[in-house]
Amino acid sequence: MFTVATVLNALELGFIYALVAMALFLSFRVLNIADMTTDGAFTLGCAVSATAAVAGHPFLGLPLAMLAGAAAGFITAFLQTKLAVPSILAGIITNTGLYTVNLAVMGFSSNVPMLKTKTVFTAAQSVFGESAPYKLIVAALVTVVVCALLIAFLGTRMGLSIRATGDNPDMVRASSINTAFTITVGLCIANAMTALSGAVLAQYQRSADINLGTGMVVIGLASLIIGETLFGRGGMWVKAVAAVAGSVIYRFIIALALRANVPSECLKLISAVIVALAIAAPALKAKADFRRRRANAQKGGARHA
């Protein structure tokens, strides 16, 4: 059904975008915050990484992108914890501001072409050789390392405090921990991961574009929810693997859609429908159960009458 090239391509993109799914796992699932900074932070990562690569520093571009993403997360966290801006609005405000920042990072241009630029992928190519799946190695390596670090972090006392903040903030304060602090740390880490995803993607596809991040929060959520639905029950490790797997599966769905000649302009709509259905699934199921019970009861009632 798929050629080797399409499979490789889906795996590569799946691993790269898995970082966004993991970031949303942290903000949306663990901290219980729908972080709208995601779109802008992703583009910010692209922009920083592309600009750094063009300047001859592809490797430095990745940590720089993470730092920039963390700064964006910090602003969103600051708005909601210190200035009492509702969390969704805080993300939207940061995201809006980031549009200008992202343009500025790219030298007030809407894209950065990097056709001849050295990237982490060209460096990997010279190490592993032309025939090795060097792109997949880089994408998988970055994602696996970052996910492993995140899971290890969530098991520390600081990580436990962040998890408890999304679960029961009252209890966190009762444990003498400042929830403003835990939310800030959580959002900084999440947006650093989102930006890293953008950073790797920009170097992968050899271009950065101001619109690359558009709809990223929905795509990340779609991946996260697909993974959770298929593999999600279990400890933190299982959940991390599920997010990565969800992201890969999402890329296969997209590849399949493209193969079925769905125009690429329609992909965002498909993503939106997937996410809406996936998040609505429990409610839809409850409704269906209720209808069935009522129908059965009415049938039963008629028999008794």
Binding site: G155, R157, R163, R173, A174, S175
Partner: protein, 268 residues
């Protein structure tokens, strides 16, 4: 130990919904005091606890705990020295985290215990298991299970353990057995007595059970309309009956106690 001077709090000041919740409240607790608090509906009992715990900063007055002025200290800093339990068993624990993770968080109150990046180690686990087995609920064998699987009584017992795992200077109990069935409530109350006695805790407990109010601890406070209207201890308290207490309340404030839950539970 605990000193409240002139504590006042008004909600929605200057509006039609203005409500004076606390007015000139003065209270002194000695080290090891265990005072019960009863009062009418809306008398300001929970508001008093919120003021002490730092959920809000009081409009007027000063709070000192163990010689330290905590009047303007935020809640999460006060919780280092103040343990607190609520009526709702869901408020004290994180449901999606395991018993051991919940305890590890509560243990963070021990100042300078470990770094932010340390993990739960064998020594911690042994300590948690030992403390859990003292509850007598078999929770020490379920440390890897999420707290959401526990019953209300089990969760409340766990919350009690968490509130006292690092010995607090002051323990605030806000009707912490009221949402439990009578058998479980008795058990949690027995545990409370045991833990308070063993650690010589200074403790304030809101209750609607007049019998408990007179027999638990060494002092009984009654509140009405944001004031402490009665404060009895020692021999005077020992000779007071439930009806006598209600009479004295009516005498002091000029109307009968109107807490429906107290009146409903009075007969038992």
């Amino acid at each position: 130990m605990l000193d409240l001077k002139n504590i006042g709090k008004t909600f929605n000041p200057g509006t039609v919904n203005e409500k004076v919740a606390l007015e000139n409240v003065n209270l002194h607790l000695d080290d090891g005091d265990f005072a019960t608090i009863v009062g009418s509906n809306g008398a300001g009992k929970s508001t008093l606890f919120n003021a002490i715990a730092g959920e809000f900063i009081a409009d007027t007055g000063m709070i000192t705990l163990d010689g330290r002025d905590i009047t303007f200290l935020p809640d999460f800093k006060r919780s280092k020295a103040i343990g607190r339990m609520f009526q709702d068993p869901l408020r004290g624990t994180a449901p999606h985290m395991t018993i051991e993770e919940n305890l590890a968080l509560a243990f963070l109150r021990a100042s300078g215990h470990t770094s932010a990046f340390s993990r739960i180690n064998k020594k911690d686990r042994e300590l948690f298991a030992e403390k859990l087995s003292a509850l007598g609920l078999g929770l020490e064998d379920r440390m890897k299970q999420p707290v959401g699987l526990l019953s209300g009584g089990q969760r409340q017992a766990l919350t009690l353990l968490m509130a006292t795992l690092v010995t607090p200077k002051l323990l605030l109990l806000d009707e912490h057995t009221a949402a439990l069935d009578p058998g479980t409530a008795d058990k949690v109350l027995e545990l409370t007595k045991k833990i308070v006695a063993e650690n010589h805790l200074t403790c304030l407990m809101i209750t609607h059970n007049m019998h408990d109010a007179l027999t638990l601890g060494n002092r009984t406070l009654m509140m009405d309309h944001g004031h402490i209207v009665l404060d009895i201890s020692g021999g005077e308290r020992a000779h007071t009956t439930v009806d006598g207490l209600l009479d004295r309340f009516a005498e002091n404030v000029g109307h009968a106690l109107d807490n429906d839950r107290i009146l409903l539970s009075k007969e038992k």
